[in-house]
Subunit: 209 residues, 2 copies
Amino acid sequence: MIHITDPLIATYLMTLQPEEDPRLLAMEEKAKAMNFPIIDRQVGRFLHLLTLLKRPKLVVELGSGFGYSALWIARALEDGARIVLTEYAEKNLAYARGIFTEEGLAEKAEFRTGNALELGQEYDDIDILFIDMDKYLYPAALEAMLPHLAPKALLIADNALWRGRVVETLDTKNNEPVKKFNEIMSRHDSFFTTIVPVGDGVLIAYRLS
Amino acid sequence: MIHITDPLIATYLMTLQPEEDPRLLAMEEKAKAMNFPIIDRQVGRFLHLLTLLKRPKLVVELGSGFGYSALWIARALEDGARIVLTEYAEKNLAYARGIFTEEGLAEKAEFRTGNALELGQEYDDIDILFIDMDKYLYPAALEAMLPHLAPKALLIADNALWRGRVVETLDTKNNEPVKKFNEIMSRHDSFFTTIVPVGDGVLIAYRLS
């Protein structure tokens, strides 16, 4: 098994910046207990930082689960900005809505139940698009969503290194689409793209015009 | 020896985004031939992206070498923005000046020979401070430079994981100062800080006010 980042280094980073926030910790515990996939905490920190830097008006997230990544992003939003969460499972979104309400962030969020790709296309001038849905849908997400991005938008995708499987030939159902997605964005003339090996790999593409 | 990022993953990223730019390739060759330390190419891409996102007016670099990192940053600067290169060795800066002139970027750059810490303090309202000088000086760089940052500034430092030595007890001349630097920024109330395990580790700290 490939460790994208050396485990000692990963531990160093976790120890250097211990998390004390009860809401984040509770969500991490919930994910562990349910065996539900959420972003790595270091990816959460990174998303928070990218959001602070970008200062978006509108964020759309494709595949929100129960809201862990959305919380990291929403905490970096300025007044008047909002994030759209999309998720198939109503009960996940209900949990997210509860967390956002407790946090005082409910008015910065829209909670949309259903097909993330269909819902996402209802929005235009998206400043940050965060993709974290089923991996085999990543290339389809580009086709659907690129026309809906604002100038100088930031496209971010989690799992771009897919547990290291991008360097293997296994698991083709998800692996080939992730590799194709990485290739499309890396070669796209309208974006500057880089993949950062944090957590499970984060692709970041900045729209150049 | 610790590989911060798995070597197969590092190769995947290099292959996915092959560099064809003759100036960057020549500088990488020069560094190799001279055994001169420059940032990892993936760190270069990351700096470029952070600069696109931040849209700074003024960038100050502490420790410019012969200008490889500065070139990645300068190519992302908007009209009217500038980068200050600082470096002890006059011949390194002369080389950088030549590259920037060929590139048509000379008017966006200032080339300052001397002590980086002293020179850096001549500037105020710095939007991006990039630290890549002698590692034992990293904590001193904070003391000297934090008062010179603009609101919402971005502080970036290379080698924050110091070839993985931050998890070892060796090499205390440089290692302890790097660890101390990471701790100071991680605990600083005025910054949101994260360390991204790209290349040799990049610390990014966003000033919250």
